[in-house]
C-alpha cells in the first residue's frame, strides 16, 4: 500500500487540532497507556454516569497516528454507553489488525480512515494504544501497555 493513504487529511487535521485534549478534573475513571516500543504515553480521563460516558479527554506524548486515533475515538465515544464503547473498541481493533470486513455492518463510521494501518504492522500499536487505554479506564485498570502480558482488551473482545 502507499503510505500516503494513511496520512489523510482527516488524520492530519485531528493531529493538528486534537479534540477533547486535556484532563478532566472530575473524572471517575482513568488510565495511562504506554507503548514501550516507542516510548509513547497517553492519559485518558472519563466520566461514567449510569454506564454512560458523559465526558472524556486524553493527553500525552505520541505520534500523529496515535493522537488522531485518540482524538477521533473521544469524539466517537462521548455520550455512548459502556457497552457501545466496548463494541467500538473491539471493532477498531479488528479494523487495525485487518480482521474486520468493512463490507459487513459495523459502527466505526469515519474511523475507517485507519484501515490502511493494517499494512504497516509496526504502526498498528500506535493506532490501538488509545483504545487499549480506554478499555483499561472503563475496567478500572490504572495502567496498561501495548506489550502487556495480559491483553485485557483482547480477552474482552474475544468474549463479545
Amino acid at each position: 500500500m502507499h503510505t500516503n493513504s494513511l496520512y489523510q487529511e482527516v488524520i492530519l487535521d485531528h493531529n493538528r487540532k486534537p479534540r477533547n485534549y486535556g484532563k478532566l478534573n472530575h473524572a471517575n475513571h482513568q488510565a495511562v497507556g504506554h507503548n514501550p516500543l516507542c516510548g509513547d504515553r497517553l492519559d485518558i480521563t472519563l466520566q461514567l454516569e449510569n454506564d454512560q460516558i458523559t465526558d472524556i479527554a486524553f493527553q500525552g506524548e505520541s505520534c500523529a497516528i496515535c493522537k488522531a486515533s485518540a482524538s477521533m475515538m473521544t469524539a466517537a465515544i462521548k455520550g455512548k454507553s459502556r457497552l457501545d464503547a466496548e463494541t467500538l473498541i473491539h471493532e477498531f481493533r479488528e479494523l487495525a489488525t485487518g480482521k474486520l470486513d468493512i463490507n459487513h455492518p459495523h459502527h466505526l463510521g469515519r474511523l475507517t480512515v485507519f484501515s490502511g494501518i493494517r499494512d504497516l504492522p509496526t504502526r498498528v500499536k500506535c493506532a490501538i494504544l488509545p483504545w487499549h487505554t480506554l478499555h483499561a479506564a472503563l475496567n478500572s485498570i490504572a495502567s496498561t501497555s501495548t506489550e502487556a502480558n495480559h491483553d485485557s482488551a483482547h480477552k474482552v473482545s474475544s468474549k463479545s
Binding site: 502507499h2 503510505t3 496520512y7 492530519l12 516510548g39 505520534c63
Partner: protein, 419 residues
C-alpha cells in the same frame, strides 16, 4: 593446523570505489514502492555482500557437518573451517591467542556470558559496577540483574550536552568497592566515540577489569585488544556485513580461565559423570552445544571482506558522508541533531520540531529511505536529552552522497505533510 594458516589469507579482495562496492551488495538494487532503496539503518544491521553470501552457500553445499565430533571427512572440514573463522576474528581484533575468541550468538550473549561467568562468581554484596549513560540496554540490564541478585550497586557516568562522556566524573566514581566497568565503545544512539583507552587504563590503575561493548565500533574502527588492554570486548557479525546469530567475546585468557561456565551442555566438557563434570578448556568451556557453524564461517568471510577494503579507508569515507550529512541537515529549519560529539561515527540522531519520529520514519519509507526511529534500546540517552525518541540515519561505506540528498528531500517532504 597448517591448513588453517594457509586459508587465513583473505579469500575476498576489493578496491575502494563506491560504485564498485555497491555492486557487491545485491540488496542495494531493491526498489521500495518504485523508489531506489536508501538503506540508512546500518547501525541496526548492515547488509551482506555477495562474497559472504557465496561463502555461506559454499559451506552449506560442500562443507557442512557437526564439528569437534565425528572422524568423517565433512566433520573434519567443518571443524577446520570453524577454527579458521576463529583465527580470522583473532587477527581482526589482534588477540594474542585464538582461544581468547569465543563465538557467541551476538553482543548481548557475549555480555551475558561475562555477567554470568565473571560477575556471578566475583561480584559480591556492596560491590559497585560502573556503567555509562550511553550504554545500550544490553549492557545495562544484565548488570542490573546481577546487582539485584548480589546486592551490588550500579554507578553511572554522565554525558555532557554534546553526548560525550564526562570522564572527570567517571574517575570520581572509583573507590575500593568498584569491581567492574562496562563501557560502550561507540554509542549506537548518538555515534559518540568514547575515549576507552584512557578509561581502561584508569580502571586498571584501580585493579578493575573492563568490558567493552564494541557492537557499533567494530565496523568502523580498527580494534586492537592488546593495544587497548581491555579485559573483554564484544561485538556481533551482523553489523559487520556478516550473518545474524553470531558474535564474539574476546577475553584475556587468564580471566576466561578463572570464570565459571555460562551454559552447560555438549562440547563444553572434558568428562561427565552424574557425580561430577570436568569442564573443557577455553574457548570450548564457553561454547556449549552445536555453535552457529555456518554463521561463524560467514563472519570470518565478512571480516576478510572488510579487511580487504581496509577499516581505515572505510572510516575515512564514512566520515566524509557524516560531515556532508551533518551540514545538509543543519541547514534544514526545525531539524535538530542530537549528539554532536567531536569524535563520532557516521550516525545522525535527529528530531524535527512538532513531528514524532515514527511519523517521520513511515513517511521517509514511502520515499524508499530506511531509517531507525524510536529509543534505540538506549532509553537513558533519550531521557538525558529529554526526547521520547529520535530518528536515526546511520551510514555504511556503501552509502553515497546522493542518498544523503534523498534523506534531505525526504525530511522536507515530511515537514510539508505536517505543515
Amino acid at each position: 593446523m597448517n591448513s588453517a594458516k594457509a586459508s587465513l589469507k583473505p579469500e575476498i579482495s576489493a578496491d575502494f570505489d563506491a560504485e564498485k562496492i555497491r555492486a557487491d551488495f545485491p540488496i542495494l538494487k531493491l526498489k521500495i514502492d518504485g523508489k531506489p532503496l536508501a538503506y540508512l539503518d546500518n547501525a541496526a544491521s548492515s547488509q551482506m555482500p555477495q562474497q559472504v553470501i557465496d561463502r555461506l552457500v559454499r559451506y552449506q553445499t560442500t562443507q557442512h557437518a557437526n564439528i569437534n565430533r565425528a572422524v568423517h571427512y565433512l566433520s573434519e572440514v567443518a571443524t577446520m573451517e570453524y577454527h579458521n573463522a576463529r583465527c580470522k576474528l583473532q587477527q581482526f581484533v589482534n588477540a594474542r591467542e585464538d582461544r581468547e575468541i569465543i563465538f557467541t550468538s551476538g553482543t548481548t550473549d557475549s555480555i551475558n556470558l561475562v555477567m554470568h561467568g565473571y560477575g556471578r562468581k566475583f561480584i559480591k554484596a556492596g560491590d559497585e559496577i560502573i556503567l555509562t549513560t550511553l550504554e545500550h540496554h544490553s549492557n545495562i540490564v544484565p548488570w542490573q540483574m546481577l546487582a539485584n541478585e548480589k546486592g551490588a550497586k550500579i554507578r553511572v557516568v554522565p554525558v555532557n550536552d554534546k553526548g560525550e562522556l564526562e570522564v572527570d566524573e567517571y574517575e570520581k566514581l572509583f573507590n575500593e568497592r568498584t569491581k567492574f566497568v562496562g563501557l560502550i565503545h561507540v554509542s549506537n544512539a548518538l555515534g559518540t566515540i568514547n575515549p576507552i583507552k584512557h578509561m581502561i587504563d584508569f580502571a586498571h590503575q584501580h585493579g578493575v577489569p573492563v568490558l567493552i561493548d564494541g557492537a557499533q565500533a567494530a565496523p568502523h574502527i580498527i580494534i586492537d585488544v592488546q593495544a587497548l588492554d581491555c579485559d573483554f570486548y564484544a561485538f556481533s557479525a551482523h553489523k559487520l556485513c556478516g550473518p545474524t546469530g553470531v558474535g564474539i567475546l574476546y577475553g584475556k585468557a587468564a580471566l576466561l580461565e578463572s570464570m565459571q561456565p555460562f551454559k552447560g551442555g555438549g562440547d563444553m566438557i572434558a568428562s561427565v559423570t552424574f557425580e561430577e563434570t570436568l569442564y573443557n578448556t577455553i574457548p570450548h568451556k564457553f561454547e556449549a552445544g552445536t555453535p552457529p557453524i555456518a554463521a561463524a564461517i560467514g563472519f570470518g568471510a565478512a571480516v576478510d571482506y572488510l579487511a580487504a577494503i581496509g577499516i581505515e579507508r572505510i572510516a575515512a569515507y564514512e566520515l566524509s558522508l557524516l560531515n556532508y550529512a551533518t551540514e545538509r541537515l543543519n541547514d534544514i529549519p526545525g531539524v535538530k541533531i542530537i549528539g554532536t560529539a567531536a569524535e563520532k561515527t557516521a550516525v545522525i540522531s535527529f528530531t524535527i520540531d512538532g513531528i514524532h519520529p515514527h511519523d517521520i520514519g513511515t513517511i521517509l519509507n514511502q520515499d524508499g529511505i530506511a531509517v531507525r526511529t524510536g529509543h534505540h534500546c538506549a532509553q537513558p540517552v533519550m531521557q538525558r536529552f529529554n526526547v521520547p525518541a529520535t530518528s536515526r540515519a546511520s551510514f555504511a561505506f556503501y552509502n553515497k552522497k546522493t542518498e544523503v540528498d534523498a534523506l534531505v528531500a525526504g525530511i522536507k517532504n515530511v515537514q510539508k505533510v505536517f505543515l
